[in-house]
Symmetry: C2
DNA sequence: CCCGGCTACTAAACCGGTATAGCGTGACCT
DNA sequence: AGGTCACGCTATACCGGTTTAGTAGCCGGG
């Protein structure tokens, strides 16, 4: 039964033409008469011929695969809700295109650069996604040197020479702060992400700006590495202040859930004593008690759009950046009016 | 600067030998004198030569990559704590071997089979990991037909012709039930996973067995798809019983966290009114309130061992199955003595 | 009638490795 | 001294595509 896979030579012989012509017919190149083209494609279909990826890769030096390098320590990786969903979105596009995704998970910056080098050096991929943008990112130069097409996720510096797929998370943070201010909160803190990551930094600065717009004095900001452990620590620290915040805006859901745990452990009721907002709208965030008010994005769609953008960049040498619908606030049960001590509000109004 | 990559021909010319000999030297084949081998390797190093993966793939028809196909609906994928950590473990091994991981995320069974076919047909991978084993799994036959080496994750039927990397989760479940029985619980329920997945089914049957061993009558079992939503529904259902359970053993952490949320929403105190155990030992489970008593496995190590096993299977044509250290109970704060109504215990002792 | 140019196609080089057959040299054996 | 064999190496076919140069045949124009 399971014979050797037919090659282009088999197709050529069966169709009575040269193998070059088969190649032309397959790739819609001109110079093949309509009838011959039809016949070749028929024969190819009958024989069940599928061009060999490795042979094609060798002669065209393309791999028909895209790369995603994720830099996360193994301890933290499970907590990150973004990547699995993002990858699912990417795959939904790649599957129809007959392309594959090569994934690399690395623990640190050095390994990350090495990984890009290997991916490019081995021509394993035709292009890569760039996640967790950092300011002064060493990858920008490297990718340019390697001539590897790349699409950035998130809003890069204008100077960055890659198209990007962005989602305005500023808007979500602003909504969250406005929502809390409307409820009457004035001491609002922010448990921010890694300031070296651009989205961490951006959420932070939009928090500041939103506070200013709400007419509140700049809130306390704690920097973290986005992990639940850090989120818990940050929360403890905030709650031990002499005048603790009445609301905390977290930069992602796992930290918010950890913060919720800390608050409850200390006997605080959420939202009666403390309001909490998350970020990402992960599945689980709707099932904790109280259900988390969070800022939802759509990482699956993000993946789809990023994949399409990268494919276009590879095919046409250029691609437009895309702006996704902004992250929106999803009000659930973890936010409410602050406890009745309103001294601070009065003092500043 | 950035010249064309050197090829084996450049190395041969520079070293003054034929390119066949360079190939021999590189691959530690016999028939090369020690001095010549040394010289060739030196020249290769000086030139910065790296063999072309595609050329090598073409002539050896191997791809130096492994495949992982994950079947999850996009909505659920983020909630699964296993894969990211598992992948991190796999990567830590592959990175040192110069191999890559090709990832495929598919929504349903048909796409899953198609994905394996494509991966094999395109020789994209040299072998695959088999996750979420199901009874009468259509993949077993397919992989045999495709002659694709595979390593199964979890304990397959003895009939399954692949080596496997297993972790005895039976032990963890048994410990959890014993722990709860020791505390005095007698009405213990189990929120199980998908019964069509082998690990779902196995956790379920070991729950039954542990109950029997503890001298308790078989507890209520609810089947789910492992999602937080299902976990919440199942919990609601159990708590609405006329005699609700005093403890619930969940088949994974997200469901346990969702269950915790439901319980708290109904005004139950955990663990005073209801004890809860999870499964997986995810990062976040330690930060909810109360911290989740859970059964810990080590998915990162699992990934490492699975990768090594698959590589050995590919290289040597055969590999031993591996048994990982059993999952162990990690007692935290979500389990405690049952509420004082002990009628049922007395009735059965 | 001859030439130019277009169309449809073939032949062969090429991508960069691996694998095999063959060849010259020196050591060993009888 | 001649034959055999192992060793170290070269030349070349091969993997399965793409791509380029070249050619046969046909048509139209002058």
């Amino acid at each position: 039964m399971a014979e050797r896979k037919p090659t282009i030579t088999d197709v050529a012989r069966t169709a009575g033409v040269s193998k070059g012509l088969v190649s032309f017919a397959l790739n819609d190149k001109p110079g093949v008469s309509p009838e011959t083209r039809k016949r070749i494609l028929e024969v190819a279909g009958d024989l069940g011929w599928r061009p060999s990826l490795s042979a094609r890769s060798l002669s065209t030096s393309t791999s028909y695969a895209l790369g995603l390098v994720i830099r996360r320590k193994p301890e933290v990786i499970s907590a990150d809700p973004f990547f699995p969903a993002f990858i699912a979105g990417v795959e939904s596009v790649l599957a129809e295109e007959g392309r594959a995704l090569v994934l690399s998970v690395v623990p640190d910056a050095a390994a990350e650069l090495r990984s890009y080098r290997t991916l490019a050096g081995d021509s394993r991929v035709d292009g890569v996604f760039l996640t967790d943008l950092r300011s002064n990112d060493a990858r920008f130069g490297l990718l340019a040197e390697l001539r590897l097409p790349a699409v950035a996720l998130g809003r890069p510096d204008p100077a960055v020479p890659f198209p990007s797929v962005q989602l305005d998370d500023t808007h979500g943070i602003a909504q969250a702060v406005a929502h809390l201010a409307d409820l009457g909160h004035s001491r609002i803190a922010h448990v921010a992400g890694d300031p070296h990551m651009m989205h961490g930094g951006r959420r932070r600065s939009s928090f500041n700006e939103a506070m200013r717009e709400a007419g509140l004095e700049p809130g306390l900001i704690v920097e973290t590495d986005f992990s639940a452990a850090c989120g818990a620590d940050a929360t403890r620290m905030l709650l031990e202040k002499r005048r603790p915040p009445t609301a905390i805006v977290y930069a992602n859901d796992p930290m918010a859930i950890a913060g919720l745990g800390v608050a409850q452990q200390r006997g605080l009721r959420v939202p009666a004593d403390l309001s909490i907002t998350g970020f990402d709208g992960t599945d689980i965030s709707g099932y904790v008690f109280p259900a988390l008010t969070t800022i939802t994005s759509d990482p699956v769609e993000w993946g789809r759009v990023a994949a399409r953008t990268l494919l276009r960049l590879i095919a046409e040498g250029t691609a437009e950046s895309v702006e996704l619908p902004p992250a929106a606030l999803l009000v659930r049960a973890s936010t409410g009016p602050p406890p009745s001590d309103r001294g601070t509000v009065a003092a500043h109004s």
